[in-house]
Every structure is written in structure tokens, then in C-alpha cells.
């Protein structure tokens, strides 16, 4: 029995030593932005053609008291968003978008219903309920899961970034400003003390 366990242990070690590098590091830094800038989504984009396989995630948005909760959803390309009608009264909602990234009309959803949409392309999708005036939501679709959403500019930390060349950027939810993207080379050590500047367009 002991011999058999040792055999599997050695075989496992041999397998992982022959596998492609799975090294991953963290990236940390600070967003330097004017006070007018509020919500930002800092993200990494692989430089060059890097194919990564990632399983689809499902993100849930609740419709309650004629509002989307949360109004902002950040996902990765290929992910699905589900809108659940969680109203306490019999109130119907519709979800539609005219965004160039994804235009869709999910019809009318009654109390208790779930409507869903998969997003293949990266970009920003603004969506609405055609029944209710104030129901507006936004989806930011990024190329991968290496991102962090910040309610206000400040410190950020992105974990498990594979080795390679990356571009650090941010989606700035203020039309006057944009991020000054940084090129990064991620090796075997964590990257710290980065400063990502938010500047006027």
C-alpha cells in the first residue's frame, strides 16, 4: 500500500514538472485620478495573441423596486448574465439594449422569472427596461478575469496573473477621462507599486 502511494506521488510530481509553466503572480498598485472620477474597473489585457480557455460564469442581476441590483456588472467575454424579477408585487420588466457590442430584446419577464443573455464580445453594454423610466444598467465585458472593480480610485490588487506580456488599463466611467495604459512584463515575482494614471481625454 505504501509503495503504491509513493508511486502515485512520484508520478504526480513528474507530471507537474513536465507541464507548461503554470506560474502566476499578483499585480498591485494605485490608481492616480482626479476627484471627479469615481468608479473604475482596472484590468489586464494580454499583449499579442494569447489564447486562454475559461469556463463560462453566470452573473446574476436582481430586479427589485424597479431598479437593477447591481446597476453595474463586470464580466468576462463568454459569460452569461441572468436577470431575475425579484419584485414583491406583480410587476413585469423588459430588458433590452441597443449597444453595438450586443443588441438584444429579452421580452417581458413576470415576477419570479429569469431572463438571460450571453455576451461574446468585449465592450460596454448599456441596457434598459422599456417599461420603467429609471431602470438602467450597464455591463462591462472584459477579455479575461484579471480585473478589479473599484468604487473609487485607490489601491488595486489582481491575483493569479500568468507570466507574459500584459497591458494594464482601466475602464473609467466618466466620459472626460481615460486611463494611461501601462505595458507590463510579468515574470516569476509579484509586481508592486504600480501607478495607473487617469488623465483627461
Amino acid at each position: 500500500m505504501k509503495k503504491r502511494c509513493l508511486y502515485f506521488l512520484l508520478a504526480g510530481l513528474a507530471y507537474f514538472s513536465m507541464s507548461p509553466s503554470l506560474a502566476a503572480q499578483s499585480i498591485a498598485g494605485h490608481i492616480d485620478a482626479p476627484q471627479q472620477v469615481k468608479q473604475v474597473v482596472v484590468y489586464l489585457q494580454a499583449e499579442g495573441a494569447v489564447k486562454s480557455v475559461q469556463s463560462q460564469q453566470v452573473h446574476k442581476v436582481s430586479q427589485k423596486e424597479t431598479a437593477f441590483h447591481a446597476p453595474l456588472t463586470v464580466i468576462s467575454a463568454g459569460d452569461k448574465v441572468q436577470w431575475s424579477n425579484d419584485e414583491s408585487k406583480e410587476i413585469d420588466h423588459n430588458i433590452f439594449s441597443l449597444s453595438p457590442v450586443a443588441s438584444f430584446d429579452l421580452g417581458l419577464g413576470e415576477k419570479g422569472s429569469i431572463l438571460e443573455q450571453t455576451f461574446k464580445n468585449t465592450g460596454i453594454v448599456n441596457y434598459y427596461c422599456s417599461v420603467h423610466k429609471t431602470m438602467e444598467g450597464r455591463i462591462i465585458i472584459l477579455p479575461n478575469r484579471h480585473f478589479q472593480t473599484l468604487d473609487r480610485p485607490g489601491d488595486f490588487l489582481i491575483d493569479n496573473v500568468p507570466e507574459g506580456n500584459w497591458i494594464l488599463n482601466a475602464v473609467v466611467l466618466h466620459l472626460r477621462y481615460k486611463a494611461e495604459a501601462l505595458k507590463l512584463s510579468i515574470g516569476k515575482a509579484p509586481v508592486t507599486n504600480l501607478t495607473l494614471k487617469i488623465i483627461k481625454k
Binding site: 410587476i91 441597443l98 430584446d105 417581458l108 422599456s130 475602464v171 472626460r176 481625454k201
Partner: protein, 229 residues
């Protein structure tokens, strides 16, 4: 609801015209449910004969008053559009206009404003900035950017007007169900654009013939706009 009453332009020798009626309507699924839920037990409130009792937080498409119809025509003279800013907001939520048109902005708020116009597409970085407009002052700004834009202020988040700017477009604002007309047009092919900021746009090519008026009625709904998208 469309009716047959829409005024055609006067017929001018050698010229033609386009006219019609522009409306907005609820989602067809909403209307269908409304039909089957009439009465005091309706989920939409007390309803009678397809007439929903809209709650304050609902969109009453028949009451919308910022629908636009734009006609693309060459050699168009620049137009002037007025907007007033107060501390609470702008005088219009949306405005369709031509690239090269002038925006006359009156700052009726209590503080100076640094207005700017930005492209709203997430890939667009176009920005047009204007000199600081002091409280109580009025200034004219020429529109250089094209497409879906927002007029905003760096000093007050409440100040926001959605703009749709297109070259050579003469735009008219109507309320839902109102008629519009473009007269004195040379015969030829014209592009019409119907727009409501929340429902997007529908474009249509119209042939204009001499001594004739072409009627184009349009109803903007979620499904019709998305089909055309």
C-alpha cells in the same frame, strides 16, 4: 396610434416633399398583456380599453415629447439650437442636430460651468471642450463631433444632454403622434432618421419626386428598433 391626419407640404413646381407622423409605443409584449389584463385587477393598474393607468415610474410612450426626425440633405445651412442649464439640469434631455450647427448655451445655474461634449461609444475618445461659461452668461458653440454624444459639465453632474449629431441633417423635434414635414426638396433619394434617445434610431431611404409628397409614418418600439439595428 396612427391616424390619417398629417399635413403634407405645399406643392411647389419642380419640388417634392416628405411628411408623416412619428409615434412611440410600448413593447408589443406589454401591449399584449395589457389587452388580456384589463380591469381593476390589472398588473398595470386600473385599465380601460387598452388605456393603461401608467404609474409615475413607467414610460408612457404616447406622452413622449422628445422624438426626432432627421432628413439628410446636401447644402444645408447651419442651424442654431438653444439649451439652458440650471443647477438642477438641462432644458432638454436630448437633441438631434447637424455637425456644424451651433449650440446656444445659456448658463442659468448659480456657478460657472465648463461644458464639454464627449463621444459615448466605448471605443470613442472624441472630446470637444468649450471655454468656461460664467453664471448668467450665454455663448454659442459649434458642434464638431459626429455620432452619439453627451453634452456634460465638469462642474455639475446634473447637467447632461444626449446629442445625436450627423452631417447634413435637418432635425425636427415632435411629440409622440405628431406630424412632421420637409418641403421644397429637389427630386432624388433622401435618408430619413427617426430617433428617440432610449429607443435608438431607425433609418429609411425615401424617393422624392417632383410635385409629389411622400408619406412616411413611423412608430418607434423596442422590437422595431432592434430589428432594424
Amino acid at each position: 396610434m396612427l391616424t390619417s391626419c398629417a399635413n403634407a407640404p405645399d406643392v411647389i413646381p419642380g419640388k417634392g416633399g416628405i411628411y408623416g407622423r412619428l409615434s412611440a409605443d410600448s413593447h408589443p409584449a406589454f401591449n399584449k398583456k395589457l389587452e388580456s389584463n384589463q380591469g381593476s385587477g390589472s398588473v398595470y393598474g386600473d385599465t380601460q380599453a387598452n388605456d393603461a393607468k401608467y404609474r409615475d415610474n413607467m414610460v408612457d410612450y404616447h406622452q413622449l415629447d422628445e422624438l426626432y426626425v432627421g432628413l439628410i440633405q446636401p447644402n444645408l445651412s447651419p442651424q442654431q439650437h438653444q439649451l439652458t442649464a440650471t443647477s438642477e439640469g438641462m432644458s432638454s434631455h436630448s437633441l438631434a442636430l447637424a455637425v456644424g450647427d451651433t449650440l446656444q448655451l445659456h448658463n442659468n445655474s448659480t456657478q460657472s460651468q465648463r461644458f464639454y461634449i464627449a463621444e459615448t461609444a466605448d471605443t470613442g475618445e472624441g472630446i470637444q471642450t468649450f471655454p468656461t461659461l460664467e453664471a448668467g452668461a450665454t455663448a454659442n458653440y459649434k458642434i464638431d463631433l459626429e455620432g452619439d454624444l453627451e453634452l456634460l459639465s465638469e462642474d455639475n453632474e446634473n447637467l447632461k444632454t444626449l446629442l445625436f449629431a450627423k452631417k447634413n441633417m435637418l432635425a425636427k423635434r415632435v411629440s409622440s403622434g405628431d406630424s412632421y414635414q420637409f418641403g421644397n426638396l429637389d427630386p432624388g433619394s433622401y435618408q430619413l432618421i427617426f430617433w428617440y434617445w432610449r429607443l435608438g434610431k431607425i433609418q429609411q431611404i425615401v424617393q422624392v419626386r417632383a410635385e409629389e409628397n411622400s408619406r412616411v409614418d413611423k412608430t418607434l418600439t423596442v422590437d422595431s428598433v432592434i430589428k432594424a439595428h
